[in-house]
Every structure is written in C-alpha cells, then in structure tokens.
C-alpha cells in the first residue's frame, strides 16, 4: 500500500562535509571492532583487548612482520590502483584476480626461460613489460565486447578470472619443480636472477617504490590529465560524453587497457618482488579484496593506502591470534568481512538522510 507521506522518508543528501563522513566511517569501524570482539570472545573466552594487542603484535610486532605487512599491503594497493580508472568509468572490472595472475604468469615465464641468459635489470624490464601485456590482454577483451555489443562486463570479467586461474594451474604443472611437488618452487633460488634487488638493505623497498609511484601517478592521471577527465565524463553520463565529442568506445577500451596493465603489473610485483614463485595464491583472492578497497576509497588512490593497510593489518593480526589461540588463519577473513559489512552499510548514512514523520495517514507503511 502506498502512502503519499510514508512514515519514514529517505532522501539523498546534498553531500556531507568530509570530516563528518569520516566520523561516520570511524563509528562504523568501531562498531565493527566491537562485534568482532564479541565474536572473538565467544570463540576464545579471552579478553578482547588482549586479543587486539596480539593482533598489533602480529602485524607490527617486529621489523620483519612490519615489512611483510607492508609487502602485502602494497600488492593489494597496487591492484586497487589498477581498478580505480575502471571504477571511475563505472566499468565493473571484477577481473583483477585474473589480470594479476596473467601478469604473474608472464613474469614467471620470463624469469624461468630467460633467467640464465639475461641480467636482472633486463629480466625486470622484460618481465614488467610482459606482465603489462598480459594484463592488458585480459582487461581489453571484455572491454571490446562491452564497447561493441554492450556485453555485461561484470559477468565477463568474472569468468575471465577462472580462465586465468586454470592457465596458472596449467603452467604450474608445466613448470613444477621438483617434479611431483605440484608447485613451481622458488624461481632462480640460487642466482636470484630477476628478483627485485634490495634497496637500502630492505628486500621489499622496491615494491614500495614502484607501488607508491603508481599510486601517485594514477592519482595525477585521473585528476589532471585529459584522459582522466574523459573517464570521469564517461562514467557520469555517456550522453554528455557524446555531446562533448568524446568517443565512448575508445575511452572504454583505453581505460580497461590501463586498468589491466596496472593489475598485470601487480602480478609482476607479486612474483618478482615478493613470492618469487607462481601459483593461484599469487593473487589469492586479493583481486577481489582490491575491488572493495577501490570502491570504498571512491577512486582516490591515497585513501586506498589507508584501506589497504587496514585490511592487511586485520589479516596479519587475525592470523596471529589464530595461531596463538589454536584457531586457523581464516579468522582473518571473518574479521575482514565483518568490518567491510559495517563500512559498506555506513555509506548509506553518508549518502542519505532518514526522517521520521510524526503525522501522516493512519494506514500502515509498507515493510
């Protein structure tokens, strides 16, 4: 039954001052941590404050742990940065997982086949280029079909993930070392050929430099370049884009090429800069998590740093408590899920206002 004056009236806000919006998000995060604390208490009967302290230990308890946290956060961040242009264009690239894996496979191929022949700088250069090419390929295929036939990009990119996963499995079986282990093992373990060199004595410094450069670069690209401007116009209204003489198809394909390229490069960083091996866990679901990172940061790559670190911190912390209290690592996914649910829900209170009306008709309002 429709009333012309419902009891609850929901209206879109004109916009909220940034600090109030962040207060809402902070409140949501705190509420989420409380729920997580209850959950942890329910499982372990331990003081949640101690548990959170243990989480901090897990993520930043030692220099090595801190660096692992940084390493993992940079890869997640890198994928999020890759997704930013696609999302700004309102193109649902849920295919980052596949694009990362393809980039990783391309890198691994270069390291394996040219590892003896070329110097590390050359390997990195070629590996990086190969990973970009692979990522572009994986990103552009759905884009072409979207631009030409309006094929649903969410479903298309989703399916491309699993093709990439199977290709990765195929390559792992092909390259497995030692035979029968069903894993590639550490590539070039003796020579370390094609590995990121340590900078200032830090093994993962180069990851940080590359990803920060990409983060800043993408921010500048989206905000200050003509391409970035075109992306935001297409994302807002294809009609306006046509009016302004922007070729919508070209922008879609070009932007997805870029998105795929950065995601592919994330695979390069993950293989040459972190794990030095290839398997399906090179992406390990981070392609999906990054979607959430990019979405919640509203295409702002600097906000992505914050969110990426928050998520990886939770993950590391949860792994720590899991091992301390004989749970398994998956506790981290539960905690992550709860926090994300709260943050997603909190956006409603930033976007909309809710008024309750005291008067109105006597009829009951719809559910």
């Amino acid at each position: 039954m429709n009333n012309h004056e419902p009891l609850i009236h929901i209206a879109k806000r004109d916009g909220m001052v940034w600090w109030r919006a962040w207060l809402v998000r902070l409140a949501a995060a705190i509420a989420a941590l409380l729920v997580c604390a209850l959950f942890i208490y329910g499982l372990t009967k331990l003081n949640p404050v101690k548990v959170y302290a243990a989480m901090w230990q897990g993520a930043f308890g030692s220099a090595r742990r801190s660096w692992i946290t940084v390493r993992d956060a940079t890869i997640l961040l890198c994928i999020g940065v890759g997704l930013a242009p696609a999302f700004m264009m309102r193109f649902w690239n849920v295919g980052a997982e596949g694009q990362v894996l393809m980039g990783g496979c391309a890198t691994a191929a270069v390291l394996i086949y040219a590892g003896r022949a070329l110097s590390t700088p050359m390997l990195l250069l070629i590996g990086g280029a190969a990973s970009i090419a692979a990522g572009v390929l994986w990103g552009v295929i759905p884009a072409i079909f979207k631009a030409r036939w309006n094929t649903n990009e969410t479903l298309f990119t989703l399916m491309m993930n699993y093709i990439a996963i199977q290709i990765t499995c195929f390559l792992v079986a092909k390259w497995e070392n030692p035979k029968g282990s069903n894993s590639v093992g550490i590539i070039n373990q003796q020579t370390q050929a094609g590995w990121f060199p340590a900078i200032f004595g830090q093994q993962y410094m180069m990851n940080v430099i590359i990803v920060l450069a990409l983060t800043v670069g993408m921010y500048l690209y989206l905000k200050y370049t003509k391409h970035g401007y075109e992306i935001s116009v297409v994302g807002e209204s294809e009609n306006t884009a046509r009016y302004a003489g922007i070729s919508v198809k070209r922008v879609i394909i070009r932007t997805m090429a870029l998105s795929g390229a950065v995601c592919g490069l994330s695979g390069f960083v993950a293989v040459a800069g972190a794990s030095h091996t290839i398997s399906t866990s090179t992406a390990g679901g981070r392609g999906f998590t990054a979607i959430i990172v990019a979405w919640m940061a509203k295409f702002n790559t600097f906000v992505m740093i914050l969110i990426a670190f928050l998520l990886v911190f939770l993950e590391k912390g949860a792994i720590q408590i899991a091992s301390q209290f004989k749970l398994n690592d998956y506790a981290s996914e539960v905690v992550t899920g709860i926090i994300l649910f709260f943050l997603l829900g909190s956006e409603f209170f930033i976007q909309y206002t809710v008024h309750f009306r005291s008067h109105g008709h006597k009829k009951e309002v719809q559910a």
Binding site: N328, S332, F348
Partner: protein
C-alpha cells in the same frame, strides 16, 4: 561403457553441487539482485550442516542418521538464508553496491566456514579431522535394489536423495517462474521495478524474499558438497569457492532458466571430469580442460549479447538498486 557410466555418475554428483548454487542464484537474480556472494553462501550452508551433524553425533549416545540429516539440513538452510539476509539488508535497505557486498559476503562466508571447518574438532577438545560418518551415510543412502539394476540402475538410482531433490527444486523453480502468479510478479520486479511498483507489487518484499530463499537453495549446494561429495568431512582447499563461481557461470550458461540449468549442470560436470577419461593427458593439460566450463559460459554470454535475443538476456535491472524517489 563402464567408463562412460562412471563419467556420467561423477558428472551428476559434481553437477548437483553447482545446480543448487545456481538455482538459488537464478531466483535471486530474477529479482534484480546480482549476488556474487554465492560461494560464501555455499560455504555457510556446508559448514552449518556439518557443524549441526557434528554436535549431534558428538552428544548423542547412539546417533541416528536420519536425525542428523534433518538437523543438518535445517541448519544449512537457516545459515545460508541468514547470509542472504545480510546481503539483502545491505543492498536493498542500505542500498550498498551489490557487487562489492556480494564479494564481501564470499570472503566472510569462506572465512567463517573454514575457520570452523578447520578448528571445530580442536574447539570441541578433540584431535584430527572432523567427520560425521553417520549423518553422511544417511545423505548418501540409496535403494540398493534399484541401483543394482545393471548400468541404467547405476546411472539413475545410485545417488543420495539430494541429487534428486535438486532436480525437483529446478522443476518447481521452473514452474514457479513461468507459471505461478508470484513468479510472474518476481520476474517483473527484476525486469522493471518501477512498472512492477506501479502495478501494486511490493518490490522491497519481493527482493528480500527472493534473495533469502535463493540463498537458502544455494546453501544446499554447500551442504551436498560436505555431506555427499566429500562424505561428511571438511577440507579448506577452496573447492567450494571454485564451485560457487562455477554456479554463477552456470546461471549465465543456462540463460536464467532453471530447467535448462539441470542438463547444463551435468554438462559442466562432464566437461570438468572429461580429462579423467581421455587417455594420455598430462597433468598440465588436465588443468586446461578444467577451464572449459568458463570458456563456454563466455561464449554463451557473448553470443546472447550479440544476437540480442530477448529471451536470453539477464534481467534488465540486474545489479541496480531500486527506490521510488519521493516527489
């Protein structure tokens, strides 16, 4: 011949898992909600069923299979419907983005299920792997007399009851969507919520119900996997997630038609297991074989969009949230 039969039986078992997942998702998507949380929901269904059976078998002096079966069945449906409810509340009431919410639900469901699946025994003070042999046996029970009728008997009657239940649910869903009044209204909600609203249909209620009931059905896929496919144990190898995405693919492949999903699910099963029956395949090429279901799904997706066939399109409002603007 025996090889073929054995391929087909394993294809049917495999297909049944994803058939549940995709039937639930078809129902959900018909209301315009694209729930990418299917794998998470299947996880929830699987672990809830397993946990219920586990605690029953642990506490009962002499566990009865049928009781474990009923308990775990109800627990699985309840847990997966709760998962659907989280998704529905966030996307329908709080208007959160469907894709992101669905993916989060997958992360959450997988985490919760594997957390408990991996440590239920430890939590209960036991050691080693969780196992619910009695209940699982009840799930896998079939009528020996029928299954013994030679090859056809083996092909048609050698499965636990859930393999048949999936077909029944598919046929009911098919009837529901195409013949029943509520199903008709539901399709209108997914196609064009504004028109449905104008016709007096409560869009919000339909979306909630379709999403929650759909989740309940999807969750049965996880239950079947845990109880039948891996015989009442748990493994944290991520298979349910892979199967869950395959269920999403199956929705597209079946072009949102439940009856079509039946044979499509078995076809996916055949494609998935075919490598076992082709001589001389290396382990590497086996992996390539496993990508076939996804490749054919993309081909269907592309063909449908190129042909612009009106009957095979996704529901028109899929992925969009609806709310009536106050004037």
């Amino acid at each position: 011949m025996t090889q073929l039969i054995s391929l087909l039986t394993s294809a049917i078992v495999f297909g049944t898992v994803i058939l549940y997942g995709s039937l639930g998702e078809i129902l959900t998507e018909k209301s315009g909600n694209l729930n990418l949380g299917v794998p998470g929901i299947m996880y929830l269904g699987g672990i809830a069923g397993l946990a219920a059976a586990f605690f029953y078998e642990m506490h009962a002096a002499e566990p009865v299979g049928a009781v474990g079966l009923v308990l775990s069945f109800l627990a699985a449906i309840l847990a997966s419907m709760l998962g659907g409810l989280i998704y529905a509340f966030l996307t329908i009431t709080l208007r959160a983005n469907q894709n992101v919410t669905g993916l989060t639900l997958t992360i959450f469901g997988a985490g919760l299920a594997n957390l408990f699946g991996g440590s239920l025994n430890a939590l209960a003070g036991g050691v080693g792997q969780i196992s619910v042999a009695v209940t699982s046996r009840a799930y896998r029970a079939y009528i020996p007399a029928l299954a013994g009728l030679g090859l056809p008997g083996q092909l048609l009657f050698s499965f636990g009851f859930m393999a048949y239940l999936a077909i029944v649910i598919a046929l009911i869903a098919n009837w529901f969507l195409n013949r029943s009044r509520v199903g008709l209204n539901l399709r209108a909600v997914g196609e064009d919520p504004a028109t449905a609203d104008a016709a007096g249909i409560n869009v919000t209620r339909y979306k909630y119900l379709a999403t929650c009931v759909g989740a309940g059905i999807s969750g049965l896929g996880g239950l079947y996997y845990a109880m039948d496919y891996i015989k009442g144990t748990w493994s944290t190898d991520g298979t349910i997630e892979a199967l869950g995405w395959l269920a999403v693919a199956l929705v597209i492949f079946a072009t949102w038609k439940p009856a079509r999903a039946i044979w499509s699910a078995y076809l996916f099963g055949v494609l998935y297991w075919a490598y076992n029956y082709i001589a001389g395949l290396s382990r590497a090429s086996i992996e390539l074989f496993k990508m076939l279901p996804y490749v054919v799904t993309i081909i269907v997706l592309v063909a449908v969009s190129m042909r612009r066939s009106r009957e095979a399109q996704p529901p028109k409002s899929l992925g969009l949230s609806y709310f009536r603007e106050e004037r």
